[in-house]
């Protein structure tokens, strides 16, 4: 990973994205790209948990939503629902992140005792319970949700500003997640993924490492959630219900769940498909309009899972490295997948 071509590529991509607002329409920058980046940051936290910890989490979107609801409750004033604390936006950010960390710690501590497919099911349960929680607890939100939330003045005004915030955060998250792999914690975490028994007998606290990984991923998902409510201006429980929760996993799967680049790639494919599918010629004739978007996405995921569980990045990797070499390296999905 420390090969310089990949660093050059990263700098080039970052520079291209930074220059993007100059050459594209405002819709592309402030709607399409910002949405892609926000979802990608959240999806990257799924990749982080899977790649280093071998955990497939469906709880990330819940924490994403918790951050949004907490910001909404903290900064909302008389016009909106929720607690209407009316705090300074920056205090709201700190408040939301602290709550996210606490929630991630509790949920992670409970889930860290399970692994594999059990972890997936338990985190899915978290997600659905979270949806009902925010729906039913009207002091915090209720099904109507919280509206009228504005970002701090620094990020408000020009639509480019939030885009650059999302781009900056994307870079930090991407580089940070890659850097964690070389820290002692990251190495131990990957050890618990590959052989938890050996790690336990070497004296590592396996559940603690898993919990901490979940907290880190929760922090990142929370940051994305804060950006999301600034960008969206509102949040309601339906936006964190089971459908969007699964969509986030689908984004990670489309891109390639063990590649960090895959999170951004998957988000780009998902969001662009959502918006531009109707423009594809002949699509109307075969009855697939944007109303049947989920069928298209489902078929895409099905195709990817049948052909290459490693997603688009996996396919690209295989093409680039040639068939022989790719076969030699065992894909992570097969490693975790075989019970």
């Amino acid at each position: 990973m420390s090969a310089s071509p990949s660093k050059i590529a990263l700098v080039a991509v970052a520079a291209a994205l930074a220059a993007l607002p100059l050459v594209t329409s405002e819709f592309v920058t402030s709607f399409l790209m910002t949405r892609i980046l926000i979802l990608a940051i959240a999806a990257a936290s799924i990749v982080f948990l899977f790649r280093y910890g071998g955990m497939v989490s469906l709880g990330q979107f819940l924490i994403f939503g918790v951050a949004g609801f907490m910001v909404g409750n903290a900064v909302g004033d008389s016009g909106s629902k929720g607690l209407k604390l009316g705090w300074d936006p920056w205090v709201g950010v700190i408040f939301a992140l602290v709550i996210c960390l606490v929630v991630a710690l509790v949920l992670g501590a409970l889930a860290s005792r399970t692994s594999g497919i059990y972890f997936l099911m338990l985190t899915l349960t978290y997600a659905v319970i979270g949806y009902y929680f925010f729906g039913q607890v009207t002091t915090l939100s209720g099904f109507g949700g919280i509206t009228g939330i504005r970002p701090p003045p620094l990020f408000e005004g020009h639509p480019w500003r939030l885009y650059y915030v999302a781009l900056g955060l994307s870079l930090v998250v991407y580089v940070g997640f890659k850097a964690i792999s070389r820290t002692p914690f990251g190495l131990a975490l990957q050890g618990t993924r590959d052989d938890p028994i050996r790690m336990a007998s070497l004296g590592f606290n396996v559940p603690l490492h898993r919990t901490l990984a979940f907290v880190i991923a929760g922090f990142v998902a929370g940051c994305a959630g804060i950006l999301n409510i600034w960008w969206n201006g509102q949040i309601d429980p339906t936006s964190i219900s089971i459908g969007p929760t699964l969509d986030l996993l689908i984004i990670a799967v489309i891109g390639g769940i063990s590649y960090f680049e895959g999170a951004w790639l998957g988000a780009a494919v998902y969001v662009s498909a959502n918006i531009y599918l109707r423009n594809v010629p002949l699509v109307d004739q075969i009855g697939i309009t944007e109303a049947r978007f989920n069928t298209v996405i489902g078929l895409l995921v099905l195709l990817i899972m049948v052909l290459s569980p490693e997603g688009i990045m996996g396919i690209m990797d295989r093409l680039r490295r040639g068939k022989r070499e790719a076969e030699a390296s065992v894909p992570a999905m097969a490693r975790v997948g075989s019970g």
């Binding site: 399970t114 594999g116 497919i117 349960t125 659905v128 028994i197 099905l302 999905m333 997948g337 075989s338």
Partner: protein
């Protein structure tokens, strides 16, 4: 591979086998909140919608009946889920979709049989006009299930995550197609007229249809138990749950057994779907909700265990029925949290559920 090891490590981690004394202390600690809950329900539950049980025995009885009848429905749906997982280690994320398909089809068939599409009175519905839709819905769910299994899951057996994501994609497609075919409005099935009346119990009126539902669930449960416990096929399935490779090595065609198990599991989802459509109605989103219900039941009870499904359904049914009735009126919104508390308590003591074992 690493999954098996990961699971194994839990066994090692937990294998600082707690001494008997510590275990007893743990049980005692767990018993305190339970006793508190019992005392609350019996004596102190003033200001709740039900009132203390000694003052309002009728309310208590009705809540208990609610809990048991809804647990019957939970069991029917979750037993199919746990059966498939127990034998094949496949987490069928499309289980809720099969539930919903059967529910919608049951409603359609019933409307055709009765001859009206709206305002169906229970008196119009004969026993046949309920059981035929039940069978049709469940059969279609079972056929969809077996197609999914044969086409998409047969060749990647053992790759749990890949299978879970494949069934997830199937669930997304089915949900979208059902929205296209059946629309977005909530609809419901009608119970047969013969069971749609009320009877008096401890001064409270209670719907016979709920007892009918419990009866159907009991029939399903007992047949399942007899099938698994008393027939050759059931014996093979139970052996397969314990050691698939050994069953295969003995010359048994486990591929056929897998197919039959998936068929039965999907059939049970379908039976549950028609019951659920009569009990609470169906609408887009019910698939996710019933997948959640099945997940809670099997996470609490333990995946792959029929006993676990019974225990999980009962506990979940108790929580679902008692929390809105016995939480103080101002806090009934929080009843969903008690579901989470149930999960947390069970998982903290037994990470793989009450009757579950590491994979």
């Amino acid at each position: 591979m690493s999954l098996a090891r990961a699971a194994g490590s839990e066994a090692v981690g937990g294998a600082r086998r707690r001494p008997e004394l510590r275990r007893r202390i743990l049980i005692a600690v767990a018993a305190v909140p339970l006793l508190f809950l019992l005392a609350w329900v019996l004596f102190f539950a003033r200001g709740t919608s039900a009132g203390p049980a000694i003052a309002e025995p009728g309310e208590f009885l009705v809540t208990l009946l609610d809990a048991i009848t809804v647990a019957g429905l939970f069991f029917v749906v979750a037993s199919g889920f746990t059966l498939i997982f127990g034998l094949m280690r496949t987490v069928n994320m499309a289980h809720g979709s099969l539930f919903l398909v059967a529910g919608y089809l049951g409603i359609t068939v019933q409307q055709t049989m009765v001859g009206k599409t709206r305002n169906i009175e229970p008196a119009d519905v004969s026993m046949a006009a309920w059981f035929v839709p039940l069978l049709v819905g469940a059969m279609v769910a079972a056929v969809i299930g077996i197609i999914v299994q044969q086409v998409l899951l047969r060749w990647n057996e053992g790759q749990e995550l890949r299978q879970a994501l494949i069934t997830l994609a199937v669930a997304v497609i089915l949900a979208d197609q059902m929205l296209a075919w059946f629309g977005g409005l909530a609809t419901r099935m009608i119970w047969p007229g013969a069971v749609t009346h009320f009877f008096e119990i401890a001064g409270q009126r209670y719907a016979t249809s709920r007892l009918f539902m419990l009866g159907v669930a009991l029939v399903v449960g007992v047949s399942l138990w007899l099938w698994l416990g008393r027939t050759r096929m059931g014996m093979i399935i139970r052996a397969g749950v314990d050691d698939r490779d050994m069953v295969r090595a003995l010359g048994i065609n486990i591929v056929a057994v897998f197919a039959i198990t998936f068929f039965v599991g999907a059939f049970l989802a379908g039976v549950g779907g028609v019951m659920g459509a009569s009990f609470a109605g169906v609408a887009p989103g019910a698939d996710g909700q019933w997948l959640l219900n099945s997940l809670v039941v099997v996470i609490v009870g333990g995946l792959g265990s029929l006993k676990g499904a019974v225990a999980g359904s009962l506990l979940f049914g108790l929580v679902v029925s008692f929390s809105p009735a016995y939480l103080p009126a101002a806090f009934t919104f929080y009843s969903i949290i008690l579901t989470f508390v149930l999960l947390a308590v069970v998982l903290a003591v037994r990470p793989y559920g009450l009757f579950g074992r590491p994979a």
